[in-house]
Amino acid sequence: MERTWNNKAWFMVLPVLLLVAFSAIIPLMTVVNYSVQDTFGNNDFFWAGSEWFDEILHSDRFWEAMGRNLVFSAIILIIEIPLGIFIALNMPKKGWGVPVCLVLMALPLLIPWNVVGTIWQVFGRVDIGLLGYSLRALGFNYNYVNDPFDAWITVIVMDVWHWTSLVVLLCYAGLVSIPDAYYQAAKIDGASRWAIFRYIQLPKMNRVLLIAVLLRFMDSFMIYTEPFVVTGGGPGNTTTFLSIDLVKLAIGEFNLGEAAAMSIVYFLIIMLLSWVFYTVMTAYDAEQ
């Protein structure tokens, strides 16, 4: 049969192509463009080669921010995953308590990020904030504005408050899908509470836990709004994460070339880590 070639179909894809070009490809290429050029103003750009990348990769400031990001993500995962599992295990499985718990858990997730930041910024203030004032009154020398340790604690507690719910809800979804017969069989087999967790609940939560870890890692690795609102990256640079540093560099210091190079490195890191997670998850699926 004679095949009809009709290239008009390409026009159908054109709107999407334009949309993607404007929203993703062109901005990305702009960044690439900036990262290999330099300017002294007047919109005069000249070729800079890999200079900005050299600078970023050899800058202590970048690696320190990266270190802070990794430490922050690690702490977040270490706290939020077990805490989320623990809360999910203790949530009621039936009765009137279920909707109450679910709504309570969903609340922090419904609050806009900058509002969360503002809430904790006020909450932690030592002059008018309930938390800051109370800690002071109890004799703790708490002040997130000039004590780096206190600033970190505040940002971490804020994130735990904001995002543990997500882990809880994911784990809970995994838990309620376990048929009653499993618990009955475990009773008959004389399994301890720990054995039930280890051999029934944990394996059934495995998949959702992987998703929870992935989401919490990515979100915490690109955290910006909340610490920016609470600490503005301070005191000093102690809570300046990569994203905050990037904005400082690009908008604060108008160092477009370096900021562009940093964006690309940041982007590649996130892509690499996502790829690692994706590979691990699909390998796990294949094993199933």
Binding site: P179, A181, I188, G190, P203
Partner: protein, 356 residues
């Protein structure tokens, strides 16, 4: 293994049962003999799973007591009762190997590892899982998984009873038959007390020596498959067992004969005098003879189901089913006769004894 006594057990799921209607289990008073193979047979919602869960201790009865070998276990936990239960859907521990699955109940009870190993190997041989001992349990087929569930019960040599809650629901038809005969073999070799819940009459009749038929929260009859077939105590048993079920028709009884419309049917004996209530005559399709003599019927339909034919006919204005041989022909002027051996008389649905 143990004898299980259910003493006047009643159970209601709601908190304040008032009438009989609120009870999922109205009253069960029955003994499961040591080493017996029992089937609990009945339609969905008749209380058979409730009774099973009461025996295993997953439910505590609202009234009555449960004895294992004369010892009151009504308030003991599942673990203390030491029973095994196989559920409708295979329950396995996904992350463990087949071997570890079987070892799990023993390790939980602190059995020393050499004994665990010996028992597990015995059980692997018994269930035919020996060649997959080292495999992860999650990749197995439904029937293999169900064998693991069973194996976790068998591995504890001291279990009081093995309970089955419709264990073949998710098994492929051809494997059902294999598993059922393996269960029977295990029972013959080792003499476990087995209670098997099912709504499938073939399963019940082939598995058990004693079939307990339940209907609306009550035991309506306990008997061998033959007894259930020939002398159903309740019209429900007649309907539920057999394919097609028993023909039941309202009659008026006078001495040794029953009258239905214009026909008079000879009874094998005279029902005891003074029976009251709705009187019915029950006869299985297998005991109806179709031929040239007897009572006239009009045939509506003949179903050829392979080994025999089912004749659907109209007799005195009511539907009646008869079974005839595969090679028998339908007479031009069909008439039926009832074999007296297959006639039962019911008053208010319960069977009435007939004197000679």
């Amino acid at each position: 293994m143990a004898r299980i006594d259910c003493n006047h057990i009643r159970h209601a799921y709601g908190p304040h049962p008032k009438s009989d209607k609120d009870y999922a289990l109205k009253e069960v008073h029955h003994a499961f003999e040591d080493g017996g193979a029992y089937a609990l047979l009945g339609p969905s919602g008749c209380g058979k799973t409730t009774l099973l869960n009461i025996i295993s201790g997953l439910l505590y009865p609202s009234h009555g007591e449960l004895l294992f070998d004369g010892k009151d276990v009504t308030n003991l936990s599942t673990q203390e009762r030491n029973i095994a239960q196989v559920f409708q859907f295979p329950v396995i521990y996904d992350t463990m190997t087949v071997y570890d699955n079987l070892a799990f109940p023993l390790r939980n009870r602190g059995v020393p590892e050499p004994d665990v190993d010996r028992k597990v190997r015995e059980t692997l041989d018994m269930t035919g899982l020996a060649d997959m001992a080292k495999r992860k349990a999650r990749g197995l087929t439904a029937d293999q998984k169900q064998k693991i569930s069973l194996g976790r019960g068998l591995v504890r040599s001291d279990v009081n009873a093995i309970l089955f809650d419709e264990p073949l629901t998710v098994i492929d038809p051809h494997m059902k038959w294999v598993l059922r005969s393996q269960l029977k073999q295990l029972h013959r070799r080792f003499g476990f007390t087995m209670v098997y819940v099912t709504h499938d009459q073939t399963e019940a009749l082939t598995f058990a020596e004693n079939v307990v038929v339940m209907y609306e929260g009550e035991i309506v009859q306990i008997g061998s498959p033959a007894e259930l077939f020939e002398r159903p105590k309740h019209t429900f048993v007649g309907y539920f067992i057999g394919s097609p079920g028993m023909n039941v028709m309202p009659v008026a009884v006078e001495g040794r004969s029953a009258r239905l419309g214009s026909q008079t049917i000879e009874l094998p004996g005279a029902p005891r005098a003074g029976i009251t209530g709705a009187i019915e005559l029950g006869i299985r399709p297998e005991y109806i003879r179709l031929g040239a003599s007897g009572m006239p019927v009009s045939i509506r339909k003949v179903e050829d189901i392979g080994r025999h034919k089912v004749v659907r006919a109209s007799f005195e204005g009511r539907d009646i089913a008869a079974i005839i041989g595969e090679d028998e022909d339908i007479p031009a002027d069909p008439k039926i006769a009832f074999d007296p051996a297959g006639i039962n008389i019911y008053a208010d649905s319960w069977r009435v004894e007939m004197g000679g």
